[in-house]
């Protein structure tokens, strides 16, 4: 399905070196498809926020280009920026303004005429309507985060950047945010989010990009990534504890856990021959019985840590 989607944001050979000499982005190229939720993962300082900053016009690139719906974000910045909404990581709000006034300002800044009905709709969608006349300083952190989303949505963007949208918010609000993001995607908005929470990407994203030290390590469909890089663990709960992995089982990647009572086998879930049937057969031949067994797939977090570690090892 995604193959038929057109590109709405195109990043080509993007680089950024700050005056301090720090290279935040190194020749990054990436196409974001219209209507998808794209999660950009990476450790602190990987270049995620710089990438968003350049796309939104806050950071000047050192090289390369970004186009939003075909409009270059530097040369044709008016048309490009009008398509983009940004919810930054920091809770930057004008504390003394009312919720409604600050959202109205955002809509005007993006060249949209006043539209009280639209503002009301956005505030209602984010459960802010009752707070519309409250000063922002009186709101909780979660409510302030909603205000920032309302500001970003006030001009009806086609592309929405969410930079760490659920950092520091409670579980209930996180679930609300996820629901909101899905509704936005369903309404045709393309969402690009950065997150530290792997489960967030796993829960919501259609595609995932991993960035580390300014370079894009991979871009993959989430499901394909899970399938391709996901490892599975088979855990056998033994009838009798083993002091060590028998030499006869040396052909399998086995480890003993729980004082020898559990035997864990790691294997590639996507492989033609997982080795599981042969292992079970061999255990029977050796008279090693088990009471129970279970399998577990690697989480996206484990995949991510593995990728970043492998990269760090290769670079060392």
């Amino acid at each position: 399905m995604h193959g038929a989607m057109s590109t709405i944001l195109s990043i080509a050979n993007l680089s950024k070196t700050y005056a301090s000499g720090l290279t935040a982005l190194n020749n990054v190229s990436l196409d974001i498809r219209k209507g998808e939720i794209f999660a950009l993962l990476g450790p602190n300082g990987a270049g995620k926020t710089t990438l968003i900053g350049i796309a939104c016009g806050i950071v000047t690139p050192s090289g390369g280009s970004v186009t939003a719906d075909g409009h270059d974000v530097v040369r044709d910045y008016r048309a490009a920026r009008a398509k983009i909404g940004l919810v930054p990581q920091e809770l930057s709000t004008d504390a003394f303004e009312t919720v409604q006034a600050t959202v109205r300002l955002s809509r005007g800044l993006f060249g949209r005429p006043p539209d009280p009905a639209r503002i009301e709709q956005v505030l209602r969608d984010l459960s802010l309507w009752d707070k519309r006349n409250d000063q922002i300083k009186t709101l909780s952190g979660g409510m302030k985060r909603r205000v920032m989303i309302a500001k970003a949505l006030s001009h009806e963007p086609q592309i929405l950047f969410l930079d760490e949208p659920t950092a520091g918010v409670d579980v209930e609000l996180r679930r609300d945010m996820w629901g909101l993001v899905r509704r936005l995607r369903d309404s045709g908005v393309t969402v690009i989010l950065t997150t530290h929470y792997i489960d967030e990407a796993e829960e919501m994203a259609d595609r995932i990009g991993v960035i580390n030290k300014g370079s894009l390590i991979l871009v993959e469909e989430k499901a394909a990534l899970m399938k391709k890089l996901g490892r599975k663990q088979l855990t056998l709960h033994l009838q009798q504890a083993l002091p060590a992995v028998p030499a006869e089982l040396g052909g399998w990647n086995l480890q003993l856990r729980s004082a020898g009572e559990e035997l864990e086998y790691s294997f590639d879930a996507a492989a033609e021959d997982t080795g599981v049937p042969a292992l079970l057969k061999r255990l029977g031949e050796l008279g090693i019985g088990f009471k129970d067994l279970n399998t577990r797939q690697s989480s996206l977090e484990e995949i991510f840590v593995g990728l970043v570690s492998a990269r760090a090892g290769a670079g060392a």
Binding site: I58, R78, A79, S92, L109
Partner: protein, 258 residues
């Protein structure tokens, strides 16, 4: 919004937002300068002025009115405009201005337009206050409004530059307090520079504020320390220099972008 269209909604949004802030702090914004000006009239106009002869053919109390209006106009224009742009920088909401489809000119129009509007309103309020103390006669009302608006716009633009340049609120106060106020006092607010010895008169002519105060005073009484054309040229020149600096700031992203 089409690709190259003037973002009038953006300009209007900034202008209205800034004016709303002004209304919220109306008491501080208006009362302080009015009270200060009234005190100047009591001290210089009534107490000291009653013992002085006329200056340039104008009673002393009336003579100082244009200078006092300019004194408030300079400092308030700078403070209003510098705070207007520095506050979003300080609290981080500047990201929205920088990521919006709005040109540097439009940003300046919104912020500087609002700051200049406040300053003009303030200038007119001070004039009304002055009228309570001395009989006011404005010989060239058109020129008076022209100088008032031009000066408010120029110094608001200057304040906008200071607001971007300043890295904290203390720095923002430095130029109005340490440079503008002394230059205004030494620029003929309370006297005609003809009253100075020749050497100091020559030195004073290097003070750009002399020309602005002199031009504004001419619009009231038809008498000035320097020619009105020179005053107008200096005011416009200052405006153009400020515009050039603002253009450079936005082109380079100086203290705005990383």
């Amino acid at each position: 919004m089409s690709g190259r269209a003037f973002n009038r909604h953006g300009v209007r949004a900034i202008y209205r937002f800034e004016m709303a802030r002004f209304r919220r702090t109306l008491w501080q914004s208006v009362a302080t300068p009015v009270i200060t000006t009234s005190l100047y009239f009591v001290v210089f106009g009534a107490a000291i002025g009653s013992r002085m002869t006329q200056v340039q053919g104008v009673p002393y109390g009336a003579f100082i009115v244009p200078g006092l209006v300019m004194l408030s106009l300079f400092t308030q224009s700078i403070l209003n405009a510098s705070f207007g742009i520095h506050f979003p920088k300080f609290i981080g909401t500047i990201y929205e201005i920088l990521s919006a489809p709005i040109s540097p000119l439009e940003i300046v129009l919104g912020y500087v337009g609002a700051a200049a509007t406040k300053s003009v309103m303030l200038g007119l309020t001070i004039l009304a206050t002055a009228a309570l103390f001395v009989p006011l006669h404005i010989l060239h009302p058109g020129w008076m409004v022209g100088f008032l608006v031009l000066t408010a716009a120029s110094f608001s633009l200057f304040g906008f530059i200071i607001g971007i340049w300043a890295q904290n609120f203390e720095q923002m106060q430095v130029i109005p307090m340490l440079i503008i106020t002394p230059l205004t006092f030494l620029g003929g607010t309370f006297y005609s520079i003809d009253m100075l010895p020749p050497f100091w008169r020559t030195v004073t002519l290097f003070n750009p504020l002399v020309y602005l105060i002199s031009g504004f005073r001419w619009s009231f009484y038809g008498a000035s320390d320097v020619g009105v054309r020179v005053s107008l040229a200096m005011t416009l020149g200052f405006l153009l220099v400020c515009l050039a600096v603002v253009a450079w700031i936005f082109r380079t992203g100086y203290r705005l972008k990383n």
